[in-house]
């Protein structure tokens, strides 16, 4: 065996550097992009290639909040009502009109005639009643849980073929908006009577939406085909009748750089989850960035008072004051990610500006920690009674740049003498430890929904309960909010809750999280529901021959 000569080692090195150089030299390239010659008039036909970041999980409708699920379900199901994303008004869709009884304890919906599910059965009052009985009450036998967008539900009543009535134990003012959310998609009676496990599977979902599932390769690709007989778009939609596109290919492409590269090189038409640092790449290639607000509880850190260190209010307030959210946004993100000014997004209902309370003040933070008895040790980390001021957090897979965000906050906290222990998120450990305030002192999360109830979803001890709440007062406030029929009074309650949550140091809001999509210049008419899930019903491609 001959040994390699020095020259050969150098040659190999040169070869490697050439590859690196090629990459460097071409940075930001992508070639000229063919400009669409569009006169603005939509054309029918064509296949849209849509790249998803993650595969869908369980497609039981109330679980559709997960963006990969919603991206599919939004195309194959319709809802009773449509929330105009600009005005946030509730407009007719499958329900042509409705009446809200006094105190918001009774709702009557009048349905559109002639709507059918993809399995051929009619979308009538009975089907709608069956859907909401499950969403409102759950079904223990079928293991179907209650949906988070329905509160205080009692029962339904089929008045006639096209009229359905819902009754509530207590006022449920959020219900009307609840009928427009992604999770309230209507499915056939056959689908809704399946056990949970089966409703999770896409092949069992029969909706009435503009697209139907044509083919599925699990965890890889879903082909959707336009429904030729679709004729029940929301009344206010300019486009009526069947969808423009013939087909949508949803391809799961987990690698960030592959999704963006495929878009800019013309191999894909539309991609979800463009990272902040890639926005410029996409734009400079002549493509469009769609940064859609999610109008909910902001992306931030949620502090768990059940943790033995965080049970001290002073420590929570210190961390709040010692976190520079502006530095996080300026360093890692783009103007698509507005700096948080409260618990809620500034587009959320009931939002109140609390930026003063959230000002960055490291001196105050240090003072509070000193006061709480945490003393800096030789390694710069504070300690009390030989317990180190060390807090655990999981990297949140669904949050954009979660790891970098946490690392940056870790840097900021290190200056205060606090150690942030950042854990990589493997699903197994996380599932076990996330509910343990001792091991997981903080959660990095957000939730989007265009209704006042979104704050209840995030904080109530029987909903998401991100802070593992032991605060009965908070629960009571949230319950009052969700049962308040008067909008002005309800918004005031939401404002009170925001102030309370900030006062109690339960959260460190960072930014208002958008969903960022990238689209090719030849793609037009993509719409988004109020919480940024794409609707391809009116989408069309102008680059067809």
């Amino acid at each position: 065996m001959s040994s390699s000569t020095p020259r050969s080692t150098i040659a190999a090195g040169v070869a490697m550097l050439t590859v690196v150089g090629l990459l460097g030299a071409c940075g930001g390239g992508g070639g000229p992009v063919q400009q669409a010659s569009t006169d603005g008039k939509p054309v029918y036909g064509g296949t849209l290639t849509y790249l998803e970041h993650q595969p869908p999980t369980c497609l039981y409708l109330p679980a559709a909040g997960f963006y990969p699920n919603g991206g599919i379900l939004n195309q194959i199901t319709d809802k009773l009502t449509w929330q105009n994303p600009k005005t946030l008004e509730i407009e007719p869709w499958i329900a042509t009109k409705w009446e809200v009884g006094k105190d918001a304890t009774e709702y009557t919906f009048h349905l559109r005639d002639g709507v059918t599910f993809s399995d051929g059965t009619p979308l009538d009052a009975e089907a709608v009643a069956a859907n909401f009985d499950v969403y409102g009450l759950g079904d223990d036998k079928l293991k179907l849980p209650v949906a988070e967008f329905v509160n205080n539900y009692k029962r339904s009543e089929v008045v006639d073929r096209l009229t359905v009535k819902f009754f509530f134990d207590k006022p449920s003012p959020g219900f009307l908006q609840g009928t427009s959310v992604i999770g309230a998609g209507l499915v056939s009676k056959k689908t809704i009577s399946l056990p949970y496990e089966e409703q999770c599977q896409l092949k069992n979902i029969a909706g009435s939406g503009p697209f139907t599932v044509k083919n599925q390769v699990i965890d890889k690709q879903i082909d959707l085909a336009a429904r030729k007989d679709y004729n029940w778009a929301p009344k206010s939609s300019q486009h009526q009748g069947r969808a423009y596109l013939d087909e949508i290919k949803v391809i799961v492409t987990p690698e960030d750089n592959v999704r963006v590269g495929a878009l800019t090189s013309g191999q894909a038409d539309f991609v979800r989850y463009v990272q902040a640092y890639d926005e410029e790449t996409v734009k400079s290639a002549g493509h469009t960035i769609y940064a859609e607000p999610t109008r909910g509880v902001n992306n931030g850190l949620y502090l768990r008072p059940g943790n033995s260190i965080l049970k001290d209010l002073d420590v929570r307030k210190a961390l709040q004051a010692g976190t520079d959210a502006k530095e996080v946004v300026d360093t890692l993100f783009t103007p698509s990610y507005p700096l948080a000014t409260s618990v809620l997004s500034h587009l959320a209902q009931g939002y109140v500006d609390l930026s003063k309370e959230l000002a960055y003040d490291p001196a105050k933070a240090n003072a509070l920690l000193d006061k709480a008895g945490w003393v800096r040790g030789a390694d710069g980390i504070r300690a009390k009674d030989s317990v180190k001021l060390q807090l655990g957090v999981f990297i949140a897979g669904p949050q954009p740049l979660s790891k970098q965000t946490l690392e940056l906050i870790g840097q900021q906290w290190a200056k205060l003498g606090v150690k942030l222990e950042i854990r990589p998120a493997d699903a197994g450990t996380q599932a076990v430890d996330i509910k343990n305030a001792e091991k997981t002192a903080l959660a990095h999360t957000m939730v989007g929904r265009a209704d006042q109830d979104v704050i209840k979803s995030q904080f109530h001890s029987e909903n998401r309960d991100v802070i593992l709440s032991q605060d009965e007062k908070l629960d009571r406030l949230l319950e009052q909010e969700s049962a308040e029929p008067d909008t002005a009074a309800r918004n005031a309650k939401v404002a009170e809750i925001q102030r309370y949550v900030i006062e109690q140091g339960y959260t460190i809001p960072l930014f208002e999280e958008p969903q960022v999509y990238g689209g090719a210049p030849h793609v037009h008419g993509v719409a988004f529901e109020a919480v940024a899930r794409p609707a391809f019903y009116s989408a069309w491609k102008s680059n067809q021959d």
């Binding site: 000569t5 990459l23 460097g24 940075g27 750089n257 640092y277 360093t331 854990r423 990589p424």
Partner: protein
């Protein structure tokens, strides 16, 4: 070939520098690998920042230098686990012979038949994440290779005349094993260890890519490459330069291993 082997000298140099990075990182860089200057994020390589800076404004060269201790000790642990368990099994099988030999070698076959990566992933889940656990998982994947090689060596050495003689003259089993068999079968095993050292660095970085790496903000090399990959189109240095460092170290380990008598084909054939 009697020429001075410059390639080999270069290889030792690379390993030497990497070891120095691990032992005295402060000599090579004045920047902090953990705390960056956010305002200086994503800067291209320059005199100020040899390897540029990352998304949080940390100096990449400092991260690579300070990362050496994590990556190299990870690789050492991995090789240590493989070497220790593998050689022990091989030694036992080769010197005992008979049924025990058969049983051990079938067990080694089982280890070989399960893809190393799957085994490593399972072990990580079992032990929990963390630098040391990842290293142990990678090490377990190389037990089979060490076991096979050391058994073959023991069998070869045992057949040599002087070992036969040592047994013949009434030497105790363990004494003969320790004094004659072990030292004489060690050479190829050490060569394999050098090779596995490079492969372990790669395996650890692959696990980092799959999301089972060290805890951030630990600047482990594999993690640097796998995280930088997302910036390939916009900030090429983030993945390419740590990548070049890893390739150089792995190449050097392979070169040294070959000079010690192993090659890629031999340990597997």
């Amino acid at each position: 070939m009697n020429r001075p082997k410059i390639g080999l000298v270069l290889a030792w140099l690379v390993i030497g520098v990497a070891l120095l990075w691990a032992v005295v990182p402060g000599v090579f860089t004045g920047h902090d690998p953990i705390a960056g200057v956010p305002a200086e994020k994503l800067q291209a390589p320059s005199g100020q920042h040899l390897f540029g800076t990352d998304a949080v404004g940390r100096d990449l060269f400092a991260r690579v230098v300070h990362g050496a201790v994590h990556s190299l000790s990870g690789a050492f642990v991995a090789v240590g686990v493989g070497l220790l368990l593998g050689t022990l099994l091989g030694l036992l099988a080769g010197s005992a012979g008979g049924l025990l030999d058969d049983a051990i070698m079938r067990f080694v076959d089982v280890l070989l038949s399960v893809p190393g990566l799957l085994l490593a992933l399972t072990v990580i889940i079992l032990l929990g994440p963390g630098t040391v656990n990842v290293a142990i998982a990678v090490g377990i994947g190389s037990v089979a290779a060490f076991a096979r090689l050391s058994r073959a060596e023991v069998v070869r050495v045992r057949r040599t005349d002087y070992v036969e003689a040592a047994f013949g003259s009434g030497g105790r089993y363990t004494t003969v094993l320790r004094r004659h068999v072990l030292p004489n079968s060690l050479g190829p095993v050490i060569a394999l260890a050098a090779l596995q050292f490079g492969l372990a660095i790669l395996a650890i970085s692959t696990l980092g890519f799959l999301g089972y790496g060290a805890e951030p903000p630990t600047p482990e090399w594999g993690l640097l490459i796998s995280e930088g990959r997302n910036y390939l189109a916009t900030s090429w240095w983030l993945t390419s330069l740590p990548g070049a460092v890893v390739v150089s170290v792995v190449l050097a380990a392979g070169r040294i291993s070959r000079s010690l008598g192993a090659d890629l084909g031999k340990d597997r054939a």
